[in-house]
């Protein structure tokens, strides 16, 4: 089970869907949802470099297009991985299947790409099966379709 899970997505309704799906699947002990990448950026900035492992979430799901934010999901992942010390399991959760964007995400250090749809639970279940390997940073990049 994931200790702390963070979702960065501008769609508030998806926060509820994701939280309930996570709860039903017993995915995480605690869950935090943010609706802008600026808010997430401020939090990660505050956590780094004082005590990065104390408060930082264990796993972060980022939407690709975060409307109303200064950064998109790929830029957010790049910042977390390259500016705020890495150390979290991080990936994209988006309804997009654009191969070019998937490649960009891979390049900035995203570990997975989950396709959003009405039936998200099977993908999250599959993700949880692979989670330990993601944690050890030994898993290859994977797209959950």
């Amino acid at each position: 089970m994931i200790n702390t899970l963070m979702l960065i997505d501008d769609e508030n309704l998806f926060h509820l869907v994701f939280e309930d799906a996570c709860s039903i699947l017993d995915m995480a002990l605690s869950f935090e949802a943010l609706d802008s990448s600026d808010e997430a950026d401020a939090k990660f900035k505050a956590w780094f470099p004082d005590d990065p492992n104390k408060e930082r979430p264990e796993c972060v799901f980022v939407d690709l297009n975060i409307i109303g934010s200064s950064y998109d999901g790929i830029e957010m992942i790049r910042k977390i991985n390259y500016e705020y010390g890495d150390g979290v399991v991080i990936g994209i959760i988006s309804s997009s299947e654009d191969e070019e964007e998937i490649e960009k995400a891979k390049k900035v250090g995203a570990q997975f790409w989950i396709i959003k749809s009405d039936d998200i639970e099977p993908r999250l279940e599959e993700f949880m099966e692979d989670y330990d390997v993601y944690k050890s940073k030994s898993a290859p990049f994977k797209v959950y379709r």
């Binding site: 089970m1 309704l13 998806f14 509820l16 869907v17 309930d20 799906a21 709860s23 039903i24 017993d26 995480a28 002990l29 605690s30 869950f31 009405d118």
Partner: protein, 205 residues
């Protein structure tokens, strides 16, 4: 995991029994039943079951709302697209109406010009006809005058010749006077006809 005290355990069980209130949410995931406490284990299992049922219900509703939102968004986009098309069609129709008005004005202008030209042509034709008529009348009058004059001169010459030769001139005399009378009458008749034609033509005009 959090192992709870005897007192808390009893309170939780009592609240569940009497008020049907159960622990829910992520807190449930860290609660642990004391070893061998079957009753509390069952209680926690029931709490989890209720929590999952509630979450499943909420998830279904949220997904429905999410789906409806997507449909509404799509409908709004479609409406927007149709509105844009309608606006475009309306603009085009207005433009066409303006063009039609301009074309109508142009047509009216051309019609007026055509009518003006037609009137001019009719007038020219009328003038031409009149001129032809006058020329014809002139020719008839000239011819008639020549004939009248000729006959007059011929008859007079014949009468003078008869008088000078001393030939009986009774027949030629009466003929000459009759002929002059007829010639004068005819001359006035021709003049009267010409005047009449001229008067009628001016009246028609």
């Amino acid at each position: 995991m959090v192992e709870i005290t005897e007192h808390t355990r009893n309170v939780l069980l009592e609240v569940a029994k009497k008020k049907k209130i159960y622990v829910e949410g992520n807190f449930l995931k860290i609660l642990k039943a004391p070893k061998g406490d079957k009753e509390f284990e069952d209680y926690l299992a029931l709490c989890k079951e209720k929590d999952i049922t509630t979450r499943k219900k909420r998830l279904t509703v949220t997904k429905q709302v999410q789906l409806q939102n997507k449909e509404l968004e799509a409908a709004a986009k479609e409406n927007n697209r149709i509105n844009k098309q309608l606006s475009k069609a309306l603009d085009e129709a207005s433009k066409s109406a303006e063009e039609a008005i301009l074309a109508e004005k142009e047509a009216q202008k051309l019609r007026a010009e055509a009518e003006k030209l037609r009137d001019a042509a009719v007038e020219d034709l009328d003038t031409l006809q009149k001129r032809t008529q006058f020329e014809l009348i002139g020719l008839i009058v000239k011819t008639a005058l020549w004939i009248i004059g000729g006959v007059g001169i011929l008859t007079s010459c014949l009468y003078l010749y008869v008088l000078s030769q001393g030939i009986d001139a009774k027949i030629i005399e009466s003929t000459w006077s009759n002929l002059f009378g007829i010639l004068l009458t005819n001359s006035f008749s021709i003049i009267g006809t010409i005047m009449g034609v001229k008067y009628a033509t001016e009246k028609n005009k």
